[in-house]
């Protein structure tokens, strides 16, 4: 039987196991939406802005590990997705974005609502496709999903002209796919792995440095095992949080610009740095020349371009992180006696690290009745479920979440690490809640970033997505204000929001519940009440306005040059 392109697209999604998509209709996807109208196997959620739709698909992907799917119409719909696509690209999130395009005969004519989305997204997608013939559609979709989820994952865009959605052809979904130019390395080189284990067994001062790839590669368990077996402490990047339980004695928490003192000291003094699916971002390394200056570096990554990109590496291992760690664990198992010696050799190092830990833990002082933002994060952790998912926006609140929430499970922190996109938090939480209706999902936002996608309150209410929104309201673009305080003589150029917004009324206008706390003794009551309410709730916490995120490594300084107070 012949099907039209629109229907073929939906059949492909179904065969890829897609159950939820986020999309916004328009002229060049109207045929697709017409097919969707009667296609009951896929749930479609209508966001209030295409950027939010793609962030929601991203949040869905981060929380589930599946490929997130979003749809937008051509022209403005497609260009509205760019920030969200770039966000996913920087954090290697598997996604397929489908955009409508003007009919093939009109492409290149500056037709109504035409944009060269293939050209525009080339540098911010893992790959993209323009479908010129309906006969190619099924294979392209198969390739799109395969590329999005394998190797180093990433967003793939499929641009689908209107006439291709209408044209008909026989539908058969390919069983498998071969792309001659795309063969990600899965198994790490066995010799390299053995060498790496040898080096690990010799160390006296090692640190494991974990990036978001461990979570994306579903390798958190293997990583945790390896750290425990060897007794080597673990520090994580922002997007690595959750891969190793922060309440574990071996956890050093996050490293980098706003990382823990102990983590930055450990990296700066170690003799062996084991980088696992991390990419040495400048927010992590500080001044490159002074990064892990005494260490041999082992680097495990699925993406060869990540290796030696900005830091010298002594022992590279290219491969799927989970496969590599499994093999490492097996190799370690063969060296029981050496592992015992290793643990003894590491003892003084662990002692040193514990000293750093107790000398300068991340801290704040809750004095008086004004709420300290860090306090809210600690209370959220205490009062939320252990498997709660927390999406952040970008700014000071994001760093306080990273410092104080104590993540213990993978895929519970959703945060825009690479691009640092304000406006990410609320829609990402929305996507996670759509995937897990029964779980607690929090969106922790600043007052600034929340306003970048607050229209999504409507989507939450309409779809009964019970996200609990937390706004840490300092009435400032706090993170920028902090830089202005420290490096620009407190010249608060355009960072004070001036206008106080009535967030409670705002929530109510959308049909959600709004709660507010302005004194420290109101915090618990607001959180508890929010968790009791069925449905989306916005909690506004009026917090100390000029609180700083500390410690801080000034941009360009080395990790040991932390400003502590």
């Amino acid at each position: 039987m012949k099907l039209n392109g629109a229907r073929i697209l939906l059949e492909c999604l179904k065969r890829e196991g897609v159950d939820t998509i986020f999309g916004y209709p328009g002229g060049t996807v109207i045929n697709l939406y017409d097919e969707l109208f009667s296609f009951k196997e896929i749930k479609h959620i209508l966001p209030r802005h295409e950027q939010a739709g793609v962030h929601a698909a991203d949040g869905y992907a981060r929380a589930t590990g599946k490929v997130g799917v979003a749809i937008a119409t051509s022209g403005p719909g497609a260009t509205n997705t760019i920030t969200a696509i770039a966000t996913a690209y920087m954090d290697s999130i598997p996604m397929v974005i489908i955009t409508g395009q003007v009919p093939t005969a009109l492409i290149g004519n500056d037709a109504f609502q035409e944009a060269d989305i293939i050209g525009i997204t080339r540098p911010c997608t893992k790959h993209n496709f323009l479908v010129k013939d309906v006969k190619d559609l099924a294979l392209i979709m198969k390739k799109a999903f395969y590329i999005a989820r394998t190797g180093r994952p990433g967003p793939v865009l499929v641009d689908l002209p209107k006439d291709v959605q209408i044209a008909q052809t026989e539908f058969a979904y390919p069983e498998s796919v071969e792309i001659r130019g795309y063969k990600p390395t899965v198994e790490g080189h066995p010799k390299q792995i053995e060498k790496a284990v040898d080096v690990m067994l010799q160390t006296k001062k090692a640190v494991i440095y974990v990036g978001g790839g461990v979570i994306l590669g579903n390798a958190a368990d293997e990583l945790t095992k390896l750290a425990h077996q060897l007794g080597i402490p673990v520090t994580m990047t922002l997007n690595g949080l959750g891969s190793f339980p922060e309440d574990d004695d071996l956890s050093l928490g996050m490293l980098g610009m706003h990382g823990h003192y102990c983590a930055n000291m450990a990296v700066s003094n170690c003799d062996l740095l084991i980088a696992v699916a991390a990419r040495f971002d400048d927010r992590v390394t500080g001044k490159i020349a002074a990064f892990a200056p005494h260490a041999k570096i082992i680097h495990i990554d699925v993406d060869p371009t990540s290796i030696k990109k900005n830091v010298r590496v002594d022992l590279p291992i290219v491969g799927d992180v989970r496969e590599v760690l499994i093999r490492m664990l097996k190799t370690v198992d063969k060296h029981k006696a050496e592992v015992e010696t290793l643990k003894q050799n590491l003892a003084p190092w662990i002692e040193q690290i514990n000293e750093w830990k107790s000398k300068h833990p991340v801290t704040y002082k809750q004095t008086g009745s004004t709420i300290k933002p860090q306090y809210v994060i600690q209370r959220l952790r205490a009062l939320s479920a252990p498997d709660a998912i927390l999406a952040t926006d970008v700014g000071q609140h994001q760093m306080w979440v990273a410092q104080f929430f104590q993540f213990t499970r993978p895929r519970t922190l959703l945060s825009s690490g690479g691009l640092g996109t304000m406006g990410f938090g609320l829609p990402a939480a929305m996507g996670a809640q759509a995937a897990f209706p029964e779980r607690q999902v929090l969106a922790v936002c600043g007052d600034g970033g929340f306003q970048m996608n607050m229209q999504e309150l409507a989507t939450l209410v309409q779809n009964r997505l019970n996200v609990k929104i937390v706004i840490l309201n300092n009435n400032f673009l706090g993170m920028v204000r902090q830089w202005q305080e420290l490096f620009f003589d407190k010249r608060y150029s355009s960072t004070c929001m001036e206008l106080p917004i009535d967030f409670i009324k705002l929530a109510e206008a959308f049909g959600a519940v709004g709660l507010q706390a302005s004194k420290v003794d109101e915090v618990d009551a607001v959180i508890k009440k929010a968790f009791e309410i069925e449905g989306p709730v916005l909690m506004e916490f009026k917090v100390a306005r000029e609180e700083k995120v500390l410690p801080m490594v000034p941009a360009g300084a080395s990790l040991t040059e932390m400003v502590l107070t």
Binding site: I118, G119, R122, P123, K126, H127, L130, I147, I179, R180, G181, Y182, D303, P304, T305, K308, K309
Partner: protein, 163 residues
């Protein structure tokens, strides 16, 4: 260091802009670039000349390899490869310089492909260094216009894409 890199790609629309975009997006340099289909019509072969230290060249080849449409990348070592380019040069040729232009053309086995009372146009092929040497000799005689294909490269014997 100058490197001549051959990139074998899918012969499809948009592929060249992916390759070029990679260079511009990362601030890598392209000195020259040529592209055409190969004996296998589903493939195109790009030859590009770039420069950079060892680390930059390693990143360039890795990034090229990462592109889905790129099938193979060969960073040729000069001793294992043969490089050729073609130039068309228009030179002033009046009075006494007319004979000199022809002498130089003869030495470099260049062909005269256009003649006017005031100019000669020469076609020369050869290793980039040889072609450059000819151009330098012609320059003082009044070099009006120079067009170059940029080098193409092929591996010696068993080296390269298909030995």
């Amino acid at each position: 260091m100058r490197h001549t890199i051959a990139v074998l790609v899918e012969n499809e629309f948009g592929v060249l802009s992916r390759v070029v975009g990679l260079f511009s997006g990362r601030g890598f340099n392209i000195d020259s670039l040529t592209v055409a289909p190969t004996n296998d019509e589903s493939l195109s072969r790009i030859t590009l000349v770039t420069r950079g230290d060892e680390q930059i060249i390693e990143q360039i080849t890795k990034q090229l390899n990462k592109l889905i449409d790129v099938i193979k990348v060969i960073d040729f070592e000069p001793e294992n490869a043969i490089e050729r380019e073609m130039v068309l040069v228009k030179v002033s040729a009046e009075d006494e310089s007319r004979a000199e232009v022809l002498r130089i053309a003869d030495i470099f086995r260049a062909k005269v492909i256009d003649v006017t009372p005031k100019s000669y146009t020469l076609e020369a092929t050869g290793a980039p260094a040889k072609v450059a040497a000819m151009v330098e000799l012609l320059r003082p005689l009044g070099l009006k216009e120079l067009v170059s294909t940029g080098p193409v490269v092929i591996g010696r014997g068993a080296r390269g894409w298909k030995g």
